[in-house]
Symmetry: C2
DNA sequence: ATTTAAAATGAACACGTTTTCATTATTCGT
DNA sequence: ACGAATAATGAAAACGTGTTCATTTTAAAT
């Protein structure tokens, strides 16, 4: 009966290995490996026995050992400047859920606050043999990434068809891309603001090095021109509440007659709204109309009830995961591009 | 000169290995390994040469190979029900920063929304050979964790000295613990509410299975009793804005005369405030006083300007990392306990 | 019943590192 | 200048797995 030693008896229960299971099941170690790979050919009853004993022993294939030979770490790196930022935390959340479902785990890395990509961080990341990399800090140079990383497949998110980035003729690297068409949503926003009588527009930017901000600003200005509106005022920002608040205060200190503010992200819009309402004594939307970008969860909260341009997070994450899995299955596949739409969510910060 | 083949020439630049570097530097692979371990004994000039060539080649020690022999993955698992929750995202952010500084990476795992700990998730995690695990989903049974995980060292966060959890006499497992003394902060909160004339208190709970909530409710009730106040009304909650909003609406629908609400977390408090102000036409703090718990970034935003009990995040993360590193250095060290204090941050939702 | 194809199996090797261990080169004290 | 202590060095083994390959077993086809 008890031909094998009681596992619990050992003071430090040594991690069960494939050999342990094999010996107990009376099969070779290879069989154990096969039992955990659904596509391997193995007699059904033998697989069942192995799996049963494995569960009994609490055995799980060691990822490190597996990664060494398969050259797949099942690790996806996510680089963020700030996890707390609601949009990013929501995306990380969705991404983690989706990846976990596919058998991948999310590895988190933080850039410095100035978003300057640290050489040390990159070589550090390289050591983990990431299967793929998603960089939210979009100012990371694609060449830097490619050069500094191993087998990982970076995916680039750009914000316009003629995006200023990757796949340059000179570069041999090929990037899968996710293009977000922001113009449609922003146009709807401007149209609405215009319909409610906005005359004097301002654009509150995000971090200036961020690609999302650059392209958002470009789209906004282009729309203004198309609609025959004057060049908008541009406020300095960095996606944070505090800076947005301060910038708004500065703006109205010099007595500008701005009556419509478009913020590069929702959190910034919150700062704008709070500055207007609580420090400048102005009403939103009666005196000044405000529109944000992202549609994070907080935008639906009644205190802000923000009208904002939405990127569908579900769609976005689905597309990202699709790109990752495809690239993983065939590393030589040609570069692929997914496109995402944006649309305006109308709430209470523009009209009644 | 060019005795070695040009790396760039290869179509798929094979990942440089320790052997590659060794051959180029004219040393043994062992020397390369030693060059990357500061404590190993190696002639300075030789180490410099190796490091130079390594950088040139973009070589980084492979973590998988290293983990296999050192039995240290340099991976710390973080289990969360919801990354978007501000408090948790802030903690993840701080944790990632701190761990990254110590050479560890953060691996993210999500529990199901009902927080029921999935057996499959655990065995899945086990495969990664985590060095340590921090479980935010506090309802995970400690025995389950210990049994299902490998060398990882879980850390438990409890919320009272006589905490109802780990280190039971029967269990052989030893847990390092972080105790958060919430009573001090909550007492200050109640004192302030009382000073501003609160008579009729209510407690808005978090997820009922959460240890933080259980202990928070216990502390609140105990304080009420100590101060000779009547047993408070308890509102059902789950830490979300939406539920808090709905619960508050329900509360005042039956015409209760509650004039002081303490929420188990800040996000819940936001829901309470918005329900009062925008749906019930009541003023905060004039008609009803509200206090939250956590002191997340949003609590300082002017629209809410929430008075709340603060757990110092920096302290908390520092303590966690300290526990992890100590346990990693000496797996046999006796269980250790760190304690954290809480204190009230006074803003505008109680008095003027 | 016999041939043919397919499925199942295990031995040996490979993945990239760190860690003994025994050996050689260096420094130190007098 | 000499023995003793110390630092530096590389060969071989180990970590836990997946994959080839040649062999054996089973099933299918005539």
């Amino acid at each position: 009966m008890s031909e094998h030693p009681n596992i619990q008896e050992a003071k430090r229960p040594e991690r069960a290995t494939a050999d342990t299971v094999a010996k107990l099941a009376g099969v070779s170690r290879v069989a154990v490996s096969r039992a955990f790979n659904p596509h391997a050919s193995l007699k059904k009853e033998k697989r069942d026995l192995i799996l049963k004993i494995a569960k009994e022993l609490g055995y799980t294939p060691d990822m490190a050992g597996r990664a060494l030979v398969t050259r797949r770490s099942h690790l996806v790196g996510v680089i963020v400047p700030d996890v707390c930022s609601p949009w990013e935390s929501q995306e990380i959340d969705a991404l983690t859920t989706a990846l976990q479902g596919e058998g991948f785990a999310t590895l988190l890395f933080k850039t410095r606050t100035d978003q300057s990509m640290d050489e040390r961080l990159l070589t550090y990341m390289k050591g983990f043999n990431l299967d793929s990399i998603i960089a939210f800090a979009e100012n990371v140079s694609p060449d830097t990434l490619t050069h500094s990383l191993g087998r990982a497949v970076p995916i680039y998110v750009s914000y316009s068809e003629d995006g200023s980035l990757p796949n340059q003729p000179g570069s041999t690297s090929v990037f899968d891309r996710l293009i977000v068409d922001q113009k449609t949503g922003i146009d709807q926003a401007v149209a609405l603001m215009q319909a409610y009588g906005c005359k004097d527009f301002a654009y509150l930017g995000g971090t200036t090095t961020s690609l999302a901000n650059t392209e958002r600003e470009r789209a906004f200005k282009s729309i203004m021109k198309e609609r025959g509106l004057p060049e908008p005022l541009v406020l300095q920002g960095d996606y944070t509440y505090e800076t947005a608040l301060a910038s708004t205060l500065d703006l109205f200190k010099v007595g500008e007659g701005v009556d419509g503010i478009f913020s590069a992200n929702d959190v910034g819009a919150f700062g704008v709204i709070d500055a207007l309402r609580f420090q400048l004594g102005l009403r939103v939307p009666e005196d000044v109309k405000v529109v944000g970008f992202d549609d994070i969860a907080q935008s639906g909260w009644l205190s802000y009830n923000l009208t904002t341009v939405k990127i569908d997070l579900e769609d976005r994450v689905r597309a990202l995961v699709r790109l990752i899995l495809r690239r993983l299955k065939d590393p030589n596949a040609p570069a692929m591009t997914e496109t995402l739409q944006t649309r305006l969510i109308v709430r209470g910060t523009v009209g009644s």
